[in-house]
């Protein structure tokens, strides 16, 4: 997959690149408004990660240029401003998703995968991993074509794991993914273990072993 990361904070830009390149993706970068505009007009990307406040201009202008050029790239806006108006304007202009800084890279990765699924497979939204198959439209997971009875949170967890395979997911990252950050912090992450253990129990046979413990308190979803 080919991504464009239009972000003027170079540290953040490079961190995103490092994280995304692990899946053998090609990441190009744009560090200011003009570079972003130029690259968007010249090249095709699968997904563009677009900072809304680029130093020399607004990311929304880049988005407008992109849509004008009838490019099919998925767009995820990242912004330091979580105002609803910005979000709505971005989505109105045709962005596929909106993330407020600061976000976890795993969360960004998960959102990118979701955008790709929706774009590429034209409605047939499925994720496959060995014997696991997930239909993201009907929100059901199958192992060897046998449907699993998962709660909402267990399903979310499974999708999050599969889309971030090979990455270490700390309980903080998982907690925020499941919980969002709308509620005041609950500093007890025990609830994560409960949901993961339940998920493991429901994933019959060998598949439960995909969820591995990393560094004692984190998790990693990985092929044997």
């Amino acid at each position: 997959m080919k991504f464009l990361i239009a972000e003027d904070e170079l540290d953040l830009q490079q961190s995103i690149v490092t994280y995304l390149e692990k899946d053998a993706n090609i990441c190009e970068v744009a560090s200011d408004f003009h570079e972003a505009l130029e690259k968007v007009e010249l090249y095709d990307y699968d997904v563009i990660i677009l900072d809304i406040n680029l130093i020399t201009g607004s990311g929304l202008e880049v988005l407008k240029a992109l849509k004008k050029g009838k490019k099919s790239a998925g767009v995820i806006i990242i912004s330091a401003n979580n105002s609803l108006d910005d979000k709505l304007e971005g989505l109105d202009l045709g962005a596929d998703d909106y993330l407020t800084k600061p976000f976890h890279l795993a969360e960004l990765n998960s959102r990118i995968k979701a955008v790709l699924r929706r774009g590429k497979f034209g409605g047939d939204e499925t994720i496959e991993f060995n014997e696991i198959k997930i239909n993201t439209k009907s929100r059901t997971a199958y192992i060897d074509d046998v449907p699993l009875t998962l709660t909402r949170k267990e399903y979310d967890l499974l999708v999050f794991f599969v889309t971030n395979q090979g990455r270490v997911l700390s309980k903080e990252i998982i907690a925020e993914h499941l919980w969002g950050d709308d509620s005041d912090l609950i500093d007890n992450f025990d609830f994560i273990y409960v949901h993961i253990n339940n998920l493991r129990k429901k994933m019959t046979g060998e598949t439960s072993k995909y969820i591995k413990t990393a560094y004692g308190s984190g998790y990693k979803f990985i092929n044997h």
Binding site: N82, P102, V168, L185
Partner: protein, 418 residues
Amino acid sequence: MSKQQKPVKLLRKASKIFLFISGILMIVSTVALYFYTKNLLQDEVEEELFSTEARIESSLKENNQAFSLPPVIEVVEILDLKTEFLKDTLIFDPSQNEDEVFRELSTFKIINGKNYRITVRNLVVESKDILIAIVISYFIIILLTLLFLFYFNVEGNRKLWIPFFENLEAMKVFSVKSENPIELVESNILEFQELSTEISILTNQVRDDYQNLKQFTEDVSHELQTPLAIMQAKIENIINTNAIDENQYLLFSSLQQDIQRLKQLNKRLILLTKIENNLFVNIAEIDISKRIEKTAFNFRELFNVDIIFDESQSLNVSMDPYLAEVLCNNLISNAVKHSSKQESILVACTQNSLIISNLGEEPIENPEKLFNRFYRESKSNQSTGLGLAIVKRICDLYEFKVDYQFQDSRHLFSIIFK
């Protein structure tokens, strides 16, 4: 003296002083006039008595014959001479058929070798009537004058002070949060002009400071988001490098928690500022009961807590949908945070109120500070300390009444909607 006096209205006070001084002036001047006129009249009477006496005396000298016209004139031959005297005396007046006061002058003279006592009298009644007439007319005139002056004084004062009172009203309704500068009435009175100028300068300063402070909070919070994002992203890449051991991982994981805390704090500060800046203008009809059920469902699912709630009673409130969500979330998460998993959280709705309660050992120490920013009863809880402050702000925004009580070993939070 120690007791503070009840404040008096300016115009009333001015009128009171005017009336008081006028009253004193009126009484004193009337009394003075009374005595002065009385003296004047008496002098007049006495002068007349003396001149009558002189005429009688000269007539006696010429005619050598004593005559009398009682009670007005009496000429009597006597043996011994005395010194002349003036006095008031009561004499029966047959024409009036009653005793009348007379002013009497008695002189003793030797005329043509004979000793005479000449007594001349004058009726006082007449002069007394004049006196009374003068005093009463004076009193009426001065009373009318003063009433007239009083009316003009009050009216004049009222007109004079109009700019002052209008500006005072403007200041009463002024709020530092208001968007527009204070509107003051112009006046051509120097002191009022100066007062208006000073008020304008002060209020503008206060408004600017307030705006700057609010903007500053929001700016700082927004500026913090990017460095936090960088820190978070770097940590995530580090834990994915395979180059760290378990202890280092724990450190990074706890760093993630700290960043998470900062994120929460930031987000809530921005929310608070936005509420204060009145940026939530969407109003929709929200069923709080449904909202609570949704929130409760999430909490039950995530944390396996027991939240008992009967959603059959609907509770419709007009407010911003996002703020309604925040309100429910903050109240329930507050209850969840402060109770253990075995205990149930009770939520109840009526037609216009919401009550959320959880078990507790003892009441909150400082309930009046409970809704303050960053107020915590214990350090053990890693909350942002803004959850209830936000609840309060939202309630203030829509004029809901939020209250805390401790009853039957339960912390009770109630909101009465309008």
